[in-house]
């Protein structure tokens, strides 16, 4: 049923229908409305789940890890400093192959303290072994949660996932969302079947110590699972499309890219602004398109290279910065396009909630056409 709802409430409603058995989270702006709504659902007996209140995000994800190891479908949500506090547990969850799904309402990291949006938080955990999906709008963030559980819990994958949407820009914005019924979600997402679980009748230790003779092989297995997740995601996305009419089998989506000379590459809500800007530039005769990246992990390098094979100039919009290197997405897109001959430029943009308007997108395209890139876009040089 189509409803006009806040992004955070769309997430809470869809998570409820995914039937998590254990939820543990610590409230933090701009994720708060999600966990507030879920706590209310549990208190009102609308959702049959154990909601574990904790004193920190470290404890929240630790509680989730234990609950997942005990065989439960588990959910959490966080952002920014909260995700930073989970850093150690994140690596353990992935290494212990627990398919936890966690929403990230993307927010900048301090210092300076900021509650506003960029994607530094989840990007900074790109090497942790969690799948990372980025939503452009509130329909996509709802849908990606169902897909995330399907992909993560597949025994070929058994890895956790961040399902990311831009804090405030989506989390606090009302949009029409087509919410499936409980029966429809049940038909798409069967009950969780753990690969193995903690059981006093059949003792098992998880997260064991490994000597140098074994450690590398365990890490190799995580990497292999991450690569296998690509096939699982394609299948889960295609079946989602067959059932709900919205196909998610692609890691990347092109917009007016077929005859484009310049391609923008971006993740998340900025893609919506970029599409409007592209329509205007197209009307003015510029051959510009967009490649939206939906899955940052696993990274769809070959798919990006294929989608951009006939483009001469690429402008990557990065809402993050790897100090001393560049934007994380730009770095990886450059690697994916190595040897292709395309000029690839990276633009650090929209950090800490700096607004991006259509004219900013057009200005980035102008810079790329002039061969000016690998820079912070829109710096207020008068305050430096």
């Amino acid at each position: 049923m189509m409803e006009i709802m806040e992004g955070s409430h769309a997430v809470a409603e869809i998570v409820k229908r995914c039937r998590p058995q254990v939820i543990s989270a610590y409230p933090i702006t701009p994720q708060t409305h999600i966990v507030e709504a879920l706590a209310q659902m549990v208190a009102d007996c609308e959702l049959d789940a154990e909601y574990i209140t904790v004193e920190s995000e470290f404890s929240a994800l630790s509680a989730c890890l234990g609950a997942s190891a005990a065989g439960s479908r588990v959910y959490s949500a966080t952002t920014s400093q909260g995700l930073a506090l989970m850093f150690e547990v994140c690596f353990n969850v992935a290494g212990m192959r627990q398919p936890i799904v966690m929403t990230i309402a993307n927010r900048s990291l301090g210092a300076p303290l900021s509650i506003w949006n960029d994607q530094q938080d989840s990007i900074s955990l790109r090497d942790s072994g969690w799948l990372q999906f980025y939503a452009e709008d509130n329909q996509e963030i709802a849908d990606l949660h169902m897909i995330a559980y399907r992909v993560c819990e597949d025994h070929d994958v058994l890895l956790p996932a961040f399902v990311c949407f831009d804090g405030f820009i989506l989390s606090h914005t009302y949009e029409p969302v087509d919410l499936p019924s409980q029966e429809e979600v049940d038909a798409y997402l069967p009950a969780f079947t753990p690969y193995h679980r903690l059981d006093a009748e059949a003792p098992l230790s998880m997260g064991m110590y490994a000597t140098p003779e074994y450690y590398m092989e365990f890490r190799y297995e995580v990497d292999r699972a991450m690569h296998r997740a690509k096939e699982t995601f394609i299948r889960a996305g295609r079946e989602f499309g067959e059932q709900f009419g919205r196909d998610y089998s692609a890691f990347v989506e092109g917009y007016r890219l077929d005859d484009a000379d310049v391609a923008l590459v971006a993740m998340g809500s900025i893609c919506g602004t970029a599409k409007d800007a592209i329509d205007e530039m197209r009307d003015a005769g510029k051959k510009v398109g967009l490649l939206k990246i939906r899955t940052f992990r696993p990274f769809p390098g070959p798919e990006i290279a294929e989608a951009l094979k006939s483009v001469s100039t690429v402008a990557v919009l990065d809402k993050n910065i790897s100090f001393g290197s560049g934007g994380a997405v730009g770095t990886e897109v450059k690697a994916a396009l190595y040897g292709s001959g395309a000029a690839v430029y990276d633009y650090i943009i929209a950090l800490g909630g700096r607004d991006v308007r259509k004219r900013d997108i057009a200005a980035v395209v102008d810079l790329a056409e002039k061969g000016k890139g690998d820079l912070f876009y829109g710096l207020r040089t008068e305050v430096l």
Partner: protein
């Protein structure tokens, strides 16, 4: 040993972690001078010094990390640490 998914293992699997590989110096026990007091077995942090049928003691080199505490406590100085070439 095949890897368990998620670094998992049934009870007892830790025995397959042969920590003896960490060792630089190995303890050499001299049963001729040993007075069979057993202090070495009591203090071994790895629990890998065992009594022999003759009542003297010997280390299990699969797990001995070469810490040298047994040598330090032996009242008869019948244990000496020897550089191990690998």
């Amino acid at each position: 040993m095949a890897l368990g998914v998620g670094c998992s293992a049934p009870p007892g699997r830790a025995l397959e972690n042969k920590t003896g590989a960490w060792r630089v110096f190995k303890p050499v026990f001299d049963p001729e001078t040993c007075n069979r007091c057993g202090t070495c077995a009591q203090v071994c942090p790895e629990g890998c010094v065992h009594e022999t049928e003759e009542g003297t003691f010997e280390p299990d080199l699969d797990y001995c990390k070469g810490c040298g505490i047994c040598e330090e406590v032996c009242p008869k100085e019948s244990i000496r640490m020897e550089k191990e070439e690998k």
